[in-house]
């Protein structure tokens, strides 16, 4: 294993992280909030020091970077980034326990949005900014950012492909253009443009600038940290609708936007994943609206709340305009199912991804056919392209790993003695990077009451969910560390 190369990439990641802490520091200074500013200052220094040590250690990195290094590198980088990224919370004393602070930042980077803080309004603006910004950074991924700004090694190495594959969600990650650096730049440009658009739309609804920026970060990364205790409930219907639309937009595969830029509208319109994604959204909204009839005063209000919650849960954002824990069981069940489905591959959202659900449905249909006609040879197509058996096998393995992780986490978390709904929805909400679950961890609650063990399990769940399981499993596998 090429430890030095991994070290070098991680050193760069920490340097980027330290640079991104600066705006939060400036906000603290602007607010004359010197204790928090000092916490940020120390965090920056510590992060830079860690980066420097790693850089020293990895001075003479040899070449040779393969799938194994890529997975390990991505897994480790997210852990190190979180271990240092939570320092501002911890050092400022606003989240007094280190594990709680870690939970909060992992929840931020993985765009989960699950919080241990009972009342977010007591947090200072610098901390609130860093919390929301972590969504934005984690949404598209720091490594992809790194690929966009730094030519990682020479000009002609394909190894960056392993990094993109490990960090970007989806069963079949590819490049948009021949050069990795340009691919990463295009992704980030689309991301930044859409984020700016969100801010502008929010500002048009008379949201204060700070609120608009933080909300936009939470929406763009499909994270869901609010800066108000009641999440989005206190904002005007216009602002809530803007959020509904943009959450939905950020849950779409970004290569669709690239195709739009290339004016290939037909291929976007015919994209099967996009269609099933929108179908899920429209269908769920309609069913919940029907189920909630009489719950709110007007039909318009019902549709607005239903659409917001569906969009928020499905894209794994986790904002809320109402306490949906009070909704009837059928609506809650739909939301629970949507948690598992998740957004599209190649978006900032989490969950199992629509494309995998689509593939699994198609695999199931094929297996039924095969039972009836054992000799039949059948390929599975998505968007007219034949999916290789390797991708199908990976999808099955993903489902298996998914179920195993959910069950084992659920068992461990249940040790705390809360209700089954709380425990299961907490695991699903963390593992799928959503945020709020049901009952105790519902939109009105938080994760603060779990034990340290449960919090650690949930932290691992969030990381595994964001990185699509395998980079984390690889870290835990013995054969990864064995010398060959």
């Amino acid at each position: 294993m090429n430890y030095k190369m991994i070290g070098r990439v991680n050193a760069l990641i920490l340097a980027v992280e330290a640079a991104f802490m600066f705006p939060a520091l400036l906000i603290c200074l602007w607010d004359r909030d010197f204790p928090t500013a000092l916490a940020f200052w120390h965090s920056i220094l510590l992060t830079l020091a860690a980066s420097g040590i790693l850089a020293l250690f990895s001075r003479k990195a040899r070449r040779g970077f393969y799938a194994r290094e890529g997975l390990v590198c991505v897994g480790i980088s997210w852990i190190i980034m979180s271990l240092l990224g939570c320092l501002p919370f911890y050092l400022s004393g606003q989240i007094p326990h280190y594990i709680d602070a870690l939970f909060e930042i992992v929840s931020g980077f993985t765009t989960t949005g699950a919080s241990v803080v009972a009342d977010v309004e007591v947090l200072t603006r610098g901390v609130l900014y860093w919390r929301s910004f972590s969504h934005w950074l984690g949404g598209m991924g720091v490594l992809v950012f790194l690929l966009a700004i730094i030519p990682l090694s020479g000009r002609n190495d394909g190894f960056t492909m392993h990094l993109l594959r490990a960090e970007s969600p989806g069963p079949n990650v590819g490049k948009l253009v021949p050069r990795m650096r340009q691919t990463a730049m295009i992704l980030y440009l689309i991301y930044i443009l859409l984020t700016i658009l969100t801010v502008l739309f929010l500002l048009a609804g008379k949201m204060p600038l700070f609120d608009a920026v933080c909300t936009a970060f939470g929406t763009a990364g499909t994270g869901g940290f609010g800066i108000k205790s009641d999440s989005m409930a206190g904002y005007s219907p216009y602002l809530q609708n803007v959020c509904t639309v943009f959450m939905l937009l950020f849950g779409v595969n970004f290569s669709c936007y690239f195709l739009l830029l290339l004016r290939r509208f037909r291929s976007v319109w015919q994209d099967e994943e996009l269609r099933i994604y929108l179908a899920f959204f429209v269908g769920s909204t309609a069913l919940i609206t029907w189920n909630l009839r009489g719950f709110y005063e007007t039909i318009g209000e019902t549709v607005r709340h239903a659409a917001f919650q569906v969009s928020s849960i499905m894209t794994t954002t986790g904002f809320a305009t109402v306490d949906f824990d009070a909704w009837p069981s059928f609506s809650k069940a739909i939301l629970l199912c949507l948690m598992i489905v998740g957004a599209c591959a190649g978006s900032t959202g989490g969950g199992m991804k629509c494309i995998r659900v689509l593939l699994l449905l198609k695999i199931m249909r094929r297996n039924i056919q095969q039972v009836l006609h054992p000799q039949k040879i059948q390929v599975i197509r998505v968007n007219g392209q034949v999916m290789s058996e390797k991708i199908l096998g990976n999808t099955n393995a993903y489902l298996a790993a998914y179920v195993v992780i959910v069950i084992s986490s659920f068992l461990i978390v249940s040790l705390d003695g809360f209700s089954i709904t709380t425990n299961l929805s907490a695991v699903l909400a963390c593992f799928n990077n959503i945020g709020p679950g049901l009952e105790l961890v519902g939109p009105a609650g938080n994760f603060g009451s779990f034990s340290i063990l449960s919090k650690l399990v949930l932290i691992l769940n969030m990381l595994a969910g964001r990185l699509e399981i395998f980079p984390m499993l690889v870290l835990l596998s013995r054969s990864t560390w064995k010398h060959q």
Partner: protein
Amino acid sequence: MKILIAGDGKVGATLTRQLSAEGYDITLIDSDQEVLERSMEQYDVMTVYGNCASMDVLKTADVGEAQLLIAVTSADEVNLLSCLTAHALNPRIHTIARIRNPEYTGQAYSMREAFALSLSINPDRQAAVEIERLIKYPGFLKRSSFAKGRVEIVELRVTEKSALCGLALSSFYKVLSCKVLVCAVLRDGRAIAPDGNFVLQPADKIFVTASADSLTTLLKNLNIITHKAKRVMLAGGGRVSYYLAQDLSRAGYSVQLIEQSEERCRQLASLLPDTCIVHGDASDQTLLDSEGLSDCDVFVSLTGLDELNMILSLCAQSSGVPHVITKIGRFTTSKILDSLPLGSVVSPRELSCSTIVRYVRAMQNKEGAALTIHSIAEGQAEAIEFLVDRNTRHCGEPLKVLNVRKNVLVCCIIRGIQTIIPDGDSFLKERDTVIIVATNEIVIRQLNDIFEE
């Protein structure tokens, strides 16, 4: 510049490595997903899965934005169809196709407009030409060719007995009576760009530029060609052998060809009336001996198996054949190859790749980039081929009044069909091709870099 490479085989992969390193955006097309996967992990390129001759696949690969299509799949017909289709989708695109079947080679050239071909490449033919040149002028340590093979830089060693020893470069023409230019001298491991007063010493390695014709004269006058090679033995009856036997027989050599398959032997016998075709296994030592291996002047191993070629060459070398040539198809030039006494090594793949790369560089030449770069003098100097264009300064001024940088030498000018070994009165003209030799400490990126200021 965007380039599509269709066919991720041996040549495709080599081209990908080289062109991607030179900063071109490469999209690879192949019908084998696994090969594509491997290439994508190795190089910073995009891949498209499918048949490169199909319109949909070419559209997916964004043929409309590409400036060049290089079709190097194993099937000639697919290559041609791919170029045709690409041209129909994007009339501005340049196309290069590899055509290996001898039956198509002629028509690929004469019908190049109908096929929409900018360039057709025949690696076997190129290898044969290269081997023929090696046979014609033995005695070089190394050689590099420029301007499509019309100018060569050869490396010679000055020995004490040689006429070169103690010779000042200004009197070169008087003594040797042919127009050549010594463009670099390697003395004690250091490269020197010599002037007229430079005197050669024993153990110098000199690098001589000459047109292909003067080279023969030079070698004759230096008594390097002691006796002309007459008997050539070829092991293996593939396409390269066919081309080579044809050319050599025409040039008056006596050629023996050993081939394993009887059917192919009959075919070759009908195609090559002047060649002695022997049916047998070339790896059989007794067969080689009975066919007179030790009397051969040149032995060329051209079977389809690299390993066999190496063994055969080693075997010929040990039987005392003076000149051995080995064809290597798969292995790229490696250190192990250099350490074996295989004689001259010829790789059809490398040859066609360098031709294609040269074409790509020429396409890009709007900014005056180099067409061909060869490193000479143990890597301490570079010989670079440029095209003189509108932006070149000092056109039409004689070289003696120009302020050319130290350790840079203009060593050849090709004007139309004329090859000029320049002296002080020579000048540059637009559309000339020039060859510059510069020692390593000087960075020459474009032609104008050779002038002092």
